[in-house]
Amino acid sequence: MRPTRIVAIAIVGLVAAACGGTTTPQASGAPTAGGSAAPAVSKALNIGFTNSQTGAQQVASTKQTEGIKLWVDQVTKAGGIKLKDGTVLMPKVTFYDDGSATDRVQQLYTKLINDDKVDVLLSPYSSSLVKAAAVVSEQNGKVMITAGGADDATMEQGFTNIYQVYSPGSKYLTGAIDLMLKLDPSIKKVAIVNEKDSFSVSVVTAAKPYAESKGLQVVVNQGYDTGTTDFAPFINQIVAAAPDAIIGGGHLVDGTAFAKALKEKNVSARFVALLVAPPEPTFADIGDAANFTVGPSQWEIPVKYNEAAAKALNIPFYGITSDSFTSAYRAMFNSAPSYHSAGGFAAGLILQRALEDAGSTDPAKLRASLDKTDVMTFFGRTKFSTDAKTHGKQVAHDMVYIQWQKGSDGKLAAQVVWPTEAKTAEAQLRK
Amino acid sequence: MSVILSVQNVTVRFGGLVAVDAATFDVEQGTILGLIGPNGAGKTTLFNAINGVYNRHGGSIVFDGARISGLRPYDVAKRGIARAHQIVRPLNDLSVIANVTVGAAFGREDLSLGAARKVAEERLAWLGLADRAEVLAAKLNVAQKKRLELARALASKPRLLLADEVLAGLNPQEVGDMLGVFRQLRSQGVTVVMIEHLMHAVMNVSDRVVVLDYGKKIAEGSPQEVTNDPKVIEAYLGDPKLAARITEEG
């Protein structure tokens, strides 16, 4: 057979396979008949979102999806979401791979709304994908609970249907500065080195004036291109400027590389806080270089927001505890949850509560309920801005800070060092 | 009759090598000039100098009363000089008719696409390629490609045709046809300068012959005069076969 013929046949075969195979979305948690003896009407609650099974956001996005899956699983096992009028909503999620691309996100969210007829939306992971999805859900008047879109700018676009569970980016490093000054008030000089991308720049844009307002002097202020792994130029400038503290970073690989380079070049700063990378378990791959590095996180396993904490603030507590979340997660996925997992689960919880409160999937009623939400979950406090300019922005959730510390057994562990109520170890200065 | 092309002291250097050395000759309008000489004598280089491919040369080239030295090839083409290459260079992925239309559309007359296509059809008919018009140029055989090369050059209705070994590789029948084309051109007032190794053909059709050797002109005159020139015979001694042929056939 001539090669061209083989190819032609191969292509025809592929086409045939493509046409034959149905493009069924990935669904889980479909309502089960078993145990539904209740007289109530059982209705499907269609929830849609996209995630990044491929591309740059794959790791965190997968974790977030797992959090959502766990929530669906728990709700389903509990017999669904029971509304006041007796209706029971059985969650059914539909999601597609967005390949970490904004055009794909917009196309798929439109598909979710119009073809899959979802009632409510959850978000993709990462700021720019969330922004793209928000535009579509806003166009269609669908409520979207976002996790993993911490960029402040997202929530300053005048949206009315978008609700942010995460603390916004502007808080990522300001809390680190508080922690640092509490730890060592003598710190005066700080170096800021961050990735030049949307998220990191917006974090630093908030952190720099905050540092200056606290009387700190910014001695190095540099950005680096996405994908940078060689930090020698910054290190040399940092060494020359001799700051007491270094804050910045960006995403996973670059942040890890930065921490590694700081250690290798024996940089003597007493405090180092980097974005995104430190809470990731593989951060420990760099060995001793991880030690003492501080990282902001939305949530960590040891963090224990509970009934008592809620009572102290005079707000209700909703849902399961941190411990039962973590153990259920381990049981289902055979791995520890990250803050992305918790964020996904928390987005589900907040949605669940709003549905119960509103007693309906009607967007207007859901919005009214979400607007007045002030609740504590295992993920922390949740309250949304109702100001027209920043509507839906998270205003009450607190960041958690972890620090890698070497235990007496010589093993590195990520300890929660802030806020004080949740800490598992005292923060330490670098040595 | 008037001189249409005047080559004066033209010198082309490549680094240290002098490919054409102060070549000087005139071509009268409506005549056929044969340009002969052993391989490496600088004939093709001289063509490249005339049509602007090598536009940094010494001396001067005057065409139809205007100096064309230093002009780029497209400007030379616009003035009515066309070229058929020794190694055919068809535009492979275009059809035969498109190849010839290119020649008609951008040459001297700058025709519209429709008009150019008409001219192209005529030229293809003239050169016996009409039935291959829609075929891709790459699919032609060698003899057809040679004719295509010539058709493209002639499509621009040139006043001067630089024909570089268009007869090489053709069978006697085809050579005869081609010579017919040249004679027809001459009768239409088109001037032809042809580089050719096929001696009987050159001598048969040329009005005058110029002989180059090592970049230098060593002889010029009617075919008769040139064949009898001892310098020419000596130059060809390096190539005994040619020497034999030139004396035999002349």
């Binding site: 291109d225 792994t229 020698a232 040399n236 060494v239 996973l252 690989v253 590389a257 590694k260 | -």
Partner: protein
């Protein structure tokens, strides 16, 4: 701006430049021999990183520097296979065809690598200490990387200019038809050259894995840098590539002292384009 950082930055840049240069040598060798711009270069660099990582973190805990040897061998084999699968059939086609053929390999490698390794950052935790003189700190890992780069580059030079095979490769690069008339099996030489080029890329990836964290997408940045270096040194000129790498490394080190680091790539690309326009044969090459 701090001049204090000038010397250490220059030295750091210079050292890294050797590794950049090694990667670029692979790219330029392939272009020089077969006129192919290898778009699978970046993912192959990343594969080199994962060869070391997998051996190091695997049950045997293979020393990263032994892993480099493995990368060299695997790279050679991988390149030869890639040549026969993706390039042999289209080696004489216009450059768009070979560009896309290697790009398709790029997609396949990234596709498989991300599904196997995910995009989580990985690092090979190896430390060889450091030597400090004044404010200059030279890391053991970087010093070894420079040494390995020099040894491998010298090996390539020896192979190309001191062996029969090298002679054949150069003959094929010069004039494939003439080489075949001389009885050289040009297909084998092309496959071998592609293998060597791929091997160089993998070795540089292996070296980079000992310096910086990485994931399967990490090769892309080095690939673009390799393009810049290759043009600087002259497309097809391995010695030029090594020098080009050093120049780029040094440039990155020195300029960051004077201009914001985030602008350095602009400078690099501008130099890249200018060289293409003014001296397409590269700084070292003869004027085109």
């Amino acid at each position: 701006m701090s001049l204090e950082a000038l010397i250490p930055s220059a030295i750091d840049g210079l050292m890294l430049g050797f590794v950049y240069g090694l990667a670029a040598m692979g790219l330029t060798l392939i272009f020089g021999v077969m006129r192919v711009i290898n778009l699978s270069h970046g993912p192959v660099i990343a594969l080199g990183m994962f060869v070391v990582y997998t051996l190091f973190t695997g049950p045997l805990g293979v020393n990263p520097y032994l892993g480099i040897v493995a990368a060299l061998v695997i790279g050679l084999a991988f390149g030869v296979v890639e040549y026969f699968v993706a390039l042999d059939r289209v080696i004489n086609a216009p450059e768009l065809t070979t560009l896309l053929a290697t790009f398709s390999v790029n997609l396949m490698i990234i596709g498989i690598a991300t599904s196997v390794f995910t995009t989580t950052p990985r690092a090979v935790d190896v430390s060889l200490g450091s030597v400090g003189i004044g404010n200059v700190t030279v890391l053991g890992t970087h010093a070894v990387a420079v040494l390995v780069a020099i040894v491998v580059a010298a090996g390539l030079y020896g192979l190309l200019f001191r062996t029969r095979v090298g002679k054949s490769i150069r003959a094929v690069a010069n004039n494939r038809a003439a080489a075949e008339l001389m009885g050289i099996d040009s297909r084998r030489m092309l496959a071998l050259a592609f293998g060597i080029g791929t091997s160089l890329a993998m070795v540089s990836g292996a070296l980079l894995s000992t310096l910086f964290p990485f994931n399967p997408l990490s090769g892309t940045g080095y690939e673009v840098k390799s393009f810049v270096i290759v043009v600087l040194g002259g497309l097809g000129n391995p010695t030029g590539a090594l020098l080009g790498g050093i120049v780029i490394g040094l440039l990155e080190g020195v300029t960051t002292v004077f201009i914001p680091v985030s602008w350095v790539p602009v400078l690099e690309y501008v130099i890249f384009i200018l060289i293409l326009l003014v001296r397409p044969a590269g700084l070292l090459g003869a004027r085109a």
